[in-house]
Subunit: 358 residues, 2 copies
């Protein structure tokens, strides 16, 4: 059976303001030293197991041109442009419907466009196991990550310790509070839910039929019109009516029988690039734990993270635990403990109608 | 007797980088909300007691044009352009010599160009007392400031408690260590040496003759040529030979008989604008002790000082005790405890030949 990949590239990356902007969100920027954008890295990572013509990208229609520019060898008809954001459940359903229409059925690997992964080889090995399981057992496979600290920002997967490298999922758990997260972390029986999934298009659509029937109803219309002249109009008419829902909350956490739901613990070095702090793990660090990029003068700083350009000089004196992100028209200076609150800056800009900085 | 003023405007203001630059140092910038530069404020403050035509400005020749632009009503021949910086003793001697040449003799008020003063009225009242004392008693009068904390960055003046508002100076003391500063502060018998002086030109030149005879020898040549065609050449030839020395160290601290040396404790609200922290005392402060200037978004910050423009957006998240100064080509982010170390940035730029940012 054919293996396809669906890269989910519609996010806004608000926690990466001021680099990530409405016109060009995080996944279209490079955060690593190689100069490749997160989207490009996501695509390159899988080219050994998925043919380029079988790679799909779902994104907001605003970003379709950016996707075309950054992934010129992905067929234009594989760039699925959402008229509005409706979170990951409609996004996955949209792609699965198109894949069914195009190939009858196929295994699909659903991948967020904004993750960083250290070892592509180990990553692809995990995916191969997942593809095999998805194909031979009609399974829903999710890539899990062994927690390295009690994060409260991820969902967790309770798995059964049955040996082998593919595990049965006992339960999907929503983002926990800290005490719960610590319990999960300490037990060794829980994985982080990475948001990467492998399944046949038919299998996920079947689950959606049970759990989100009105979504499937709309997707049927879209599927019917794919690659016809009516497609854009139908998409514009139907897509906005979808209820915004994540694939985790809308489907995975609600599946009544987990018989065919599996997880593969990935050990490929995963970084979901959730806030500016993620850069500490991917940029070179000096002996005082500073990660400095750009034209920087550092006087007695520790634990400082800077993303600047070669143009403007950034001088830092006596700082500790600070993030500085400098762009042409906007500057962010943030305490490392508050990097999640960068979203609040974006909210402020929306509220006070400073659109030019969004 | 005529009263003249000498504004000393040759400083480099390195601790105010990146606003203060080699091409346009601190005294030529506005740090207050009124938009007037420190130099302009220094001049405006004294116009009630000194006629504009009797105001002199000593500056580096690089800044003579800036002085002309900012003080267009000060006569051009009163702008005394030093070929090189030689600290305040040659600067005061140069001005005193020119004043002697122009007026025979006159009282001269020597004022740094980069101080801020809250009450011009009280300031001028202090100066009037100083002028009277300088004129009638051939006195050397220094304006003292009652310490508000044990600062180690200023010289101190030990004064005698003899009543009245003019006090005899018992001793000038170099910048002390912290223990000494605390002792002086606690005793109530010491004032900060503000670097503002009042004396007759003839009186200070006479003291210099005793303590810095080679300086006087050079100044005689300069004085002889003032307002002749030879002036610029003589200045270029003689001035570089002067030993760099402050008026405090070179003269005040060495005067053998303090009979005619007085101090007036100023109570006019003095701020020597010694580092970026000085702005906290002159800019509006919000309820979380933030002094924010420019296009700033503040999310949960305390004790933050920002100087930005209306152009670039500056977003601050979760910061405490940080100074941010944003200019077109350079940015400073500094811990408030390290504002003196801004000089180290300037040293770095010199060492690594990044002249464009100096």
């Amino acid at each position: 059976m054919k293996t396809t990949a669906v890269i989910m590239a519609g996010g806004r990356g608000e926690r990466f303001w001021p680099t990530s902007r409405e016109k060009c969100p995080k996944q279209f920027h490079s955060l690593t030293a190689d100069g490749k954008t997160l989207l490009q890295l996501t695509k390159e990572r899988i080219v050994d197991i998925v043919q380029t013509e079988d790679i799909f990208v779902v994104t907001n229609k605003k970003y379709a041109d950016l996707v075309r520019e950054q992934l010129p060898d992905v067929p234009v008809e594989n760039i699925l442009a959402e008229p509005v954001d409706r979170n990951t459940a409609p996004c996955v359903g949209f792609a699965a419907s198109v894949i069914e229409k195009k190939y009858g059925d196929a295994v699909m690997i659903a991948l967020p466009a904004d993750h960083l992964i250290k070892s592509s080889t180990l990553f692809c090995d995990s995916l191969k196991d997942a593809i095999d399981t998805a194909e031979t057992r009609d399974a829903l496979v999710t890539i899990g990550i062994m927690p390295v600290y009690p994060e409260t920002g991820y969902g967790y997967i309770h798995f059964s310790k049955n040996g082998g490298n593919i595990y049965k999922v006992l339960k999907f758990i929503e983002k926990p509070d800290f005490d719960k997260a610590k319990e999960y972390f300490d037990s060794g029986e829980y994985l982080w839910n990475s948001g990467m999934f492998v399944w046949k298009a038919s299998v996920i659509l079947n689950e959606m039929q049970k759990l989100m029937p009105s979504l499937i109803e709309g997707l049927e219309k879209i599927k019917y019109c794919y690659q016809t002249e009516a497609f854009d109009n139908i998409l514009e008419a139907v897509y906005p009516s979808f209820k915004p829902q994540s694939i985790d909350y809308g489907v995975m956490e609600k599946i009544t029988s987990l018989n065919r739901v599996y997880t593969i613990p990935g050990s490929f070095g995963w970084n979901d690039v959730g806030s500016w702090l993620a850069l500490e793990r991917v940029r070179p660090i000096d002996k005082n734990n500073n990660a400095l990029q750009g034209n920087v003068v550092n006087i007695d700083c520790r634990d400082v993270l800077v993303r600047g350009s070669e143009k403007r000089l950034i001088a830092l004196v006596g700082l500790e635990g600070i993030v500085v992100v400098d762009t042409d028209d906007a500057l962010l200076v943030c305490n490392k403990e508050n990097t999640q609150d960068v979203k609040k800056v974006v909210e402020f800009l929306k509220t006070y109608d400073k659109k030019e900085y969004l």
